[in-house]
Symmetry: C3
C-alpha cells in the first residue's frame, strides 16, 4: 500500500501467507475428513442456504461498508475477502479441535463452515477500526490471534457455563469491538501522515457503502437465526424481532441524523451504524422476545445511541458493540 515499506517487508506478507496456506493444507491432510454420514438432502440445502446468507453478509456487506472510505475503495473489498478466506480455514480447524479436545480427526460438516464464517466476522468488524493504522502482516496476525481468542472464549462458555452456540456467538460484536479498540489503541500512531484524510468519505463511492449496508440489513435476520436450529418457533421469533429492530433503527437513525445536521442532511455513516446497532441490540435475546413492540423499543434505543455515539466517538464501526 505505498512505497514506504522496505522491500523486505513487501515480500514478507505474501511469502508468509503462502507458507501459512501450505501449513494449513498439511494440517488438513493429517487431521481432517469430510462428514460421510448420509444426510437428509433437505437439511443439507437449508444449511447451505444459511451458509450462503452469512457469506453474503460477510463478503459483500462488510466488504463494501468500508469501501466508501477515501483511499480504500476496491482494495478494502479485496482484503476483506482475503481475511475471510484465510480465517475460515483456520476457524474450522480450531472449532474442530476445541470441540473434541481429543487427538482424533476433525470431521468437517457444512455447519462447521457456517460457524467458522460467523467467527470470521469478528475479525472483519475489528479490521474496520485499524484500517490505515497497521500494515498487512500485522492485520493477518491480528486476524489469527483474534479468531483464536474468540473461539477459545466460545469454547469456555460452552463447556463450563453451558451456554449454547447461539448465545456465545452473539457476544461477537462486543468482543470484536473491544478487541479492535485495543489494537487500534496499541497502533494509535498512524502509519501515514495523510491518514486523517482516509477517514473521510469519498463521495463517488458512498453508493457502495449503501450497497454494503443494504446487504447487512437484508441478511441480518438470517445471521441472528442461523444457530437456532432446534426450535422453529425460536427461529421464527429471531427473524421477526431482528426484522423489527432493524426497521425501527433505520428509521430512527435517518431521522436523528437529519436532525443533527444544520441543513437537515443525512450522514451515511449514521445509517451504517444504525443498521448494525439494530441487529446487534436484539442479537443475543432475539429468540426470547415474544412481542414486536419490545424489539421495536430496542431498535429505537439502538438507533438513538448509535447515531448519538457516532457524533462523538472516533471509531463509529465499533460503537455498535457497546
Amino acid at each position: 500500500m505505498g512505497s514506504k515499506y522496505p522491500p523486505s517487508m513487501q515480500c514478507f506478507l505474501p511469502l508468509w501467507t503462502l507458507v501459512l496456506e501450505v501449513a494449513l493444507i498439511v494440517i488438513f491432510f493429517f487431521f481432517t475428513s469430510y462428514d460421510t454420514s448420509s444426510q437428509d438432502p433437505k437439511k443439507l440445502m437449508e444449511t447451505y442456504r444459511v451458509l450462503q446468507d452469512v457469506t453474503i453478509m460477510v463478503a459483500l456487506g462488510f466488504g463494501f461498508i468500508n469501501s466508501s472510505l477515501r483511499r480504500y475503495g476496491w482494495s478494502s473489498v479485496a482484503f476483506n475477502l482475503f481475511l475471510l478466506a484465510l480465517v475460515v480455514q483456520w476457524a474450522v480447524l480450531l472449532d474442530g479441535f476445541l470441540e473434541q479436545l481429543s487427538p482424533k480427526k476433525v470431521v468437517i460438516k457444512l455447519s462447521s463452515i457456517k460457524l467458522a464464517t460467523m467467527s470470521a466476522m469478528s475479525v472483519l468488524i475489528s479490521a474496520g477500526a485499524v484500517l490505515g493504522k497497521t500494515n498487512l502482516v500485522q492485520l493477518v496476525l491480528m486476524a489469527l490471534v483474534e479468531v483464536t481468542a474468540f473461539d477459545v472464549m466460545r469454547m469456555i462458555q460452552r463447556k463450563y457455563f453451558l451456554k449454547d452456540n447461539h448465545v456465545n456467538m452473539m457476544h461477537i460484536h462486543v468482543f470484536a469491538a473491544y478487541f479492535g479498540l485495543m489494537v487500534a489503541w496499541r497502533f494509535r500512531r498512524p502509519l501515514h501522515e495523510r491518514v486523517m484524510e482516509k477517514d473521510q468519505t469519498a463521495k463517488s463511492s458512498s453508493l457502495f457503502g449503501m450497497l454494503g449496508t443494504l446487504f447487512l440489513w437484508i441478511f441480518w435476520p438470517s445471521f441472528n437465526s442461523a444457530l437456532l436450529l432446534d426450535s422453529p418457533n425460536e427461529r421464527k421469533n429471531a427473524m421477526f424481532n431482528t426484522y423489527y429492530a432493524l426497521a425501527v433503527s433505520a428509521v430512527t437513525a435517518i431521522s436523528v441524523s437529519s436532525l443533527a445536521h444544520p441543513q437537515g442532511k443525512i450522514n451515511m455513516n449514521h445509517i451504517h451504524n444504525a443498521v448494525l446497532a439494530g441487529g446487534v441490540a436484539v442479537g443475543a435475546s432475539c429468540y426470547l422476545i415474544s412481542s414486536p413492540w419490545l424489539a421495536m423499543v430496542l431498535g429505537l434505543t439502538a438507533g438513538l445511541i448509535s447515531t448519538g455515539g457516532a457524533l462523538c466517538l472516533p471509531f463509529p464501526h465499533l460503537a455498535v458493540g457497546f
Copy 2:
C-alpha cells in the same frame, strides 16, 4: 435537501417521523402479538426465502434504479430504505386490521411482513415520479396515504369482489403509476430551478442503475409467484411465464433502443423500463398462461410499448403501469 428550507422545516421531518415511530410502537404494544402456533419448519424457511427475495427487489432493486439520476446518488438509496422500513410497519398493522375488522389483536406472521413489503413497493414506484418535486415531509405523508389507499382497495377487492391476494396485489403497478402521476401533477412546480438537471443520468453511476435493474430482473419471478401458495402448478407457471416475458422484453428493448438512437447507442432507461414492463405485463395473469409463446408475445409487446413510451412520456418509471 438543500439549505433553502426554513430551519423549522428541517427539524419537522425528523421530529415528525420520531413521533410517528413512537406512536407505531405504542400501537404494536396494545394491538399485536406474534403468531405462536407451532409451524412446519420447512414452510417457515420457504416463506422466509420469499420474503428475502421481495426485500432484495425492493431495497436493492428499487433503491439503485433511481440512484443513477444525477444529484441523487446514495441519498435516494437511503430514502428508499427509510420509506420501506417505515411503510412496512404501518402496512402490517393496516393489513391486520382490515383483514379482521374486529377489535381483537393482530396476529403477525412472516407472511404478513411479506405482504406488507409487497404493498410498500407501491410507494417506492410512485416515489420515482415525485423525486425532486416534493420535500421529505410530503414524501412520508404521501407514503402513508398511498399504502393506506392501496390496502383499503385490496381489502375491498378481497371482501366484495372475492379476488384472491395474488390478483389484487398485481394491480399494484397500475395503482402506483396513477397515484404517482397524480401527486407529480399536484406538485408540478419543481422545488428547485435546477430540477431538470436532476432527471439527467449521471454517467458514473449508470452501473448502479444496471445493478438495480439486474436485481429486479433476477427476483421478479419470485415476486410474481409469491402469493400463489396453494397450487405448485400455478406457482411454476408464474415463474416460467415471468422468466420468458422478462427475457423477451429485455432483448426487445435493447434492440429498439439501439434502433432509435442515431448512432445505435443504447439508453439505459429503456432497459430499466423494459425489465419492469416485462414483469408487469404478465403479472396478473402469469399463473393462467399455459404456453411460453404467449408470455413471450406479452414480453415483446411490453418491450416495444415501454421503449416507445419512454421516448415520449415524461415519467419513464411510470410508463410501465399502463
Copy 3:
C-alpha cells in the same frame, strides 16, 4: 458503440435481433409446451433456488466482472444481459431437440432453463475475449454458433460416451476459452485504434469488478453442485470442495499478486482470475474428491497458475480454462 459504423449497420443489429426474437416466438408456438405433470412443491422451490443462484452468477457476476474495463462500464453489463436473455431461449429449444431427437413437442421444465442458463455461460466467458474486437452483430452470431456447438458437443458426450450432465457441463470453461481465443484470433485486428486503452482498468469502477468477483465467489459452489441431484453426498462434496478450492485460490492469488508487484500492490485482475480458476479447477471432479486437502492443493495450484498466467497471457479471462 461509436459513430464509425455505416447507418445501415446500426439498423442491422436491432432489426436482426427483433426478427430473431419473433422467429423464436414462432418456434416456441409450434414446438414447445410447459411441463404439466404435478410436481413436489419442495423440489420445485429447490430447483428454482438453484436457477436463481446460476442466474445471479451469470447476470451479476459475469456482468460486472468486465465492467471494470475502461470504456465499457454499464454497456458491458447491458450486453451481458442481452446475450443471456437471447441465448437462454435458444438453448432451451436446442437442449429439447437434441435430448429427444424426435419430432414431438419440447417439454420445458424449470431444470431446462437452469441447464440453458449454464450453457449460456459459455458465451459470456468467450465474450470477454472479443470485447472491442467485434461489433454487436458478430457478437450475437458468435453467441448462437457457440451455444449450438457446445450443446451438440454435450449431446454427443451424453449419448455416445455416456457421460452425465454434470461432467459434460464442466467442460464449459475449456470449451469457452478455446472458442473465445479462436474468435479473438480471427478478429485480431481491433475495430478501433484506441482499443488498447480499453483493456486498461478504470479506477473508479474497480469496485464493480470486485462486486462481480464476489458474486462469482459466493455462488460458485451452487454452480458446481447444480447438476448433482441424485446423490446428496456427491452434492455435499461438490459444495465443500468448491468452497475450499476457492478459499485457497483467493488467498494464494492475493499473496502472489502482491509478491509480483514492485511495491507490493495487488492487481484486481489476478483476484478475478484466481476466483474463476479455483472454481474451474475442482469443477469436473468436485464430487469425487473426498478430503479437503486435495481441493485445497487444487486451489493453490489454480491460484499460482492463473496469477502466473495473467502476468504473461493476453486474455486473462480465458487463462482459467486451461
